[in-house]
Symmetry: C2
Subunit: 243 residues, 2 copies
Amino acid sequence: MRVIPLRGIPELEEGDDLAALLASAAATAGGLEHADIIVVAQKAVSKVEGRVVHLGSVSPSERARELAGPGDPRRAEVILRESRTIVRSRPPLVIAETRHGFVCASAGVDASNAKGVDTLVLLPLDPDASAARLRDRLHELTGARIGVIVSDSFGRAWRRGTTDVALGVAGIRPLLSLAGEVDAAGYELHATEIAVADEIAGAAELVMGKTAGIPAAIVRGLSLEGVGRGSDLLMPRERDLFR
Amino acid sequence: MRVIPLRGIPELEEGDDLAALLASAAATAGGLEHADIIVVAQKAVSKVEGRVVHLGSVSPSERARELAGPGDPRRAEVILRESRTIVRSRPPLVIAETRHGFVCASAGVDASNAKGVDTLVLLPLDPDASAARLRDRLHELTGARIGVIVSDSFGRAWRRGTTDVALGVAGIRPLLSLAGEVDAAGYELHATEIAVADEIAGAAELVMGKTAGIPAAIVRGLSLEGVGRGSDLLMPRERDLFR
């Protein structure tokens, strides 16, 4: 497996043709191959989709002021709007379930300062649709049928540090099922499923970096072509022991 | 970044020189390079270290019978012995904090059947020491100064599927710290830390597979030489919102 950073992608704005920028960066890196997977950082996707809120335009509610603690209540207001449920909070740290069903810090809301304007970048409305649009447009531009993952950095329960995970996918199976593990009495404990899309997102993060201005990478050498959705990676509520 | 599977490692037994087998497999794959990281599956390490319990030798306690539900109470007994705390249980599923501080299914206890004998494979007693021993012996055998990660597949809260994470490390920094994220009011939310050792373990899993008999891989092209411990990746209890 090879993981190839895609360099030279400029600061992005709403309406930019991200697929064209990815195709051009991929061409510089030697071109796309069949079954390649392009991992794109959520923040890049959100910016071109206009999922950006100017902080100056936000009026915080009373609930947002409470949630913010010593932080910015306008930011807390936007987090509340993006959230279905607040899972835990220790101001200003908020773990929320987003409207999509992701459980993550700040409902995925990131601070950004572009050209001196303070903005918040929200998660894409439908990360699978974002991934599918990029995949279709990349096919149109390059002829290559590849997989696409829209990734973000999430914290985890019990472990320090973030790892990148897949929010949206197109053209790949995000989970790989193995035969169920069986205990010595022959009782099948549970089917083993590997969250390969999350592992691929994490592998891409290792070459993307947060500060290096590399918003995407190609992962080559896996055979995961298929159909799936990012939401396949969400634990169904009835099986979730931690909510 | 390249991820290279290490093939041809036979079924392992207590006392086997795992480092020699890794060195030989690495030589077949073109040899080791400076700053390479070898990821080795925990199960391989545990087997050569004799961290194996014959199921026939286990007498389950009453508490183990309760915990097992419809599963094997002898397995539950071993899980209890490996655990500091049971975090959640829905028989026969058990999420436990191990004596090392890892929170994972079954306290890391895996079923195994080698040569018709039902055994349970436990986590290494000290995964960092295991990683350091492999690193030192690999240096002795090959002259290469590499990093070592002992990995295992863990489930996650809120997300389906397992991803591989680092239990023990040697010769690398497992966390990469970035400048703290600052909100628009200038309030530093929290330092951003990336759990690179976990992302590397996950990347290696993608080429190792669970059923393919490939217990290790080389990850090449990163520069993470340094000093650290697998326990650096454990969330300190006082910062943990999910225990």
